[in-house]
Amino acid sequence: MRRFGWLVPALYIAFLLLPIYWLLSMSFKTTNEILGGFTLWPRNFTLENYRKIFTDPTWYMGYVNSLTYVVINTVLSVTVALPAAYAFSRYRFLGDKHLFFWLLTNRMAPAAVFALPFFQLYSAIGLFDTHIAVALAHCLFNVPLAVWILEGFMSGVPRELDELAFIDGYPFWKFFLKILVPAIAAGIGVAAFFCFMFSWVELLLAKTLTSVEAKPIAATMTRTASTSGYELGLLAAAGALTIIPGAFVIYFVRNYIAKGFSLGRV
């Protein structure tokens, strides 16, 4: 039993990779080959689908737009969550528990519920179809998550650290930036990773809040699927490219994923 234990994760990972292999395989096929019948690997290997994406601005700007609002959202979420997480981990104040739960309820709000009101709100304040609008809207679920993770990490830092710094005469902000932030650097990395992840994969709000200027890649894909016929190869190539930023981010936090999960409690 023990000896074959490795089979479980191995089989699971094989199951994970199969659809990804199929997506990659499709992306290197011509439309004729795809529609012509079943082939296990590309017979007429082509890079045409990728060439189209990298030369057509409506395609590659989708990636730029998505990455832009994801980065803005990640920076914004982590920045505002840091002091709040400190307050939750160190102080008791009026309504703190209720506030903490209220924040979490926003993580539970279905995007479908908010799609239409969000559209009206951001149109009314003139931010519709900007990267800022999507970045702000994603704060709805990313800020609570970041607060939750950072609070977990900060609670792991001994309070003596704060007290010593204050005895040494550090002003609050200096203590915060020079001592606390370096002490929970891993936690900040993990929080940023989760914000990046949830902002990158979300589509419903991003699509509702944009039309042309800030259109995310995911929306470009769905619109292409419905307008220019069913170009499976092109869609597969676009899909395959959306995996890259995620894989890139995972590589950087790979040593913190498990640690982050347990300490950060998410």
Binding site: M1, F15, A87, A112, V143, T242, G246
Partner: protein, 289 residues
């Protein structure tokens, strides 16, 4: 959360968060509440209707069906993903290159945009040219997820298991990594069986992270929208029309703002209530430990 000093200045530190989240949460929520009690005949003229829409939604078979499908879906995926995730975490290597490799590969589905997950499974399961659909049909199963409700459900569940089991596995793995080696040595000296080690050492240590895993999977599966829309579009017929798909159909498709808003609120309240129960269970465990 223990030994915190009372300091009302904490409010200044949480203020940015409250403003930012409040702006995004309170205004849209009030808009929804507003629609849920009014009738409109166009031209931006609204009439107060009281609880009429809530009454309509609560008694509509369409809502009941969508809710039942939603509960069934959430139940099935929790029943599969949680045990599977734990099993994978138990069998994963603890240290070294293989552990890192497992972690990186297993995180991949979590970072793929949801519509791409749907599109990927769509082309993977196509009966004639998809790897899965073609293989199943060659093996003699008449499989077509665009026609058969059962096949559509099976594909949908396979997709969700593919997409999210890693989250449970990663959380369980984190819980397991936090167990110090002496625990295992003590169990070995006592001659404990693998099952006893799991039951009395590993499971109690994983309890906390597993609650989080169940909570997250519950909330997210209850809110699932993009993946099934891209995969099946809610079909065949209404077979896979889950709650939020139905909601978007009513709100953005038919533009029935009143019923859609009432349904939104009921839907949100269900999630809130069930999540609150989970949250209480979780914090109770924290206080007693």
């Amino acid at each position: 959360m223990r030994a915190r000093t009372v300091n009302q200045k904490g409010w200044w530190l949480v203020l940015p968060v409250v403003v930012l989240v409040g702006f995004n949460a309170v205004i849209p929520l009030m808009t929804v509440v507003n629609y849920s009690v009014q009738e409109t005949f166009g031209n931006n003229r609204f009439f107060f209707e009281g609880v009429k829409w809530f009454d309509t939604v609560m008694h509509s078979p369409r809502f009941h069906d969508a809710l039942m499908r939603q509960l069934l879906f959430t139940g099935i995926i929790l029943a599969i993903e949680v045990p599977l995730g734990v099993a994978i975490a138990l069998a994963m290597p603890r240290k070294g290159v293989w552990a890192s490799l497992c972690l990186v590969l297993m995180s991949m589905p979590l970072l793929i945009p949801w519509n791409v997950v749907g599109a990927m499974w769509n082309i993977f399961a196509l009966p004639d040219i998809g790897l899965l659909g073609w293989t199943l049909n060659k093996l003699g199963f008449a499989y077509n997820y665009t026609r058969q409700p059962f096949a559509a459900w099976a594909t949908l569940i396979a997709m969700d298991v593919w997409h999210w089991t890693s989250l449970v596995a990663l959380l369980a793995y984190a819980g397991l990594s936090a167990i110090p080696d002496p625990y295992y040595q003590a169990a070995k000296i006592d001659g404990a069986s693998a099952w006893a080690v799991f039951r009395h050492v590993q499971l109690p240590k994983m309890k906390h992270v597993l609650t989080i895993a169940v909570l997250l999977r519950f909330m997210d599966s209850f809110m699932i929208y993009t993946e099934p829309v891209v995969l099946t579009g809610g079909g065949p017929g209404n077979a896979t029309t889950l709650l939020s798909i139905d909601l978007v159909k009513i709100a953005l498709g038919q533009f029935d703002l009143g019923p859609a808003a009432a349904m939104s609120l009921i839907y949100f309240l269900i999630i809130l209530l069930l999540s609150w129960v989970f949250y209480r269970v979780m914090t109770l465990g924290e206080e007693s430990s």
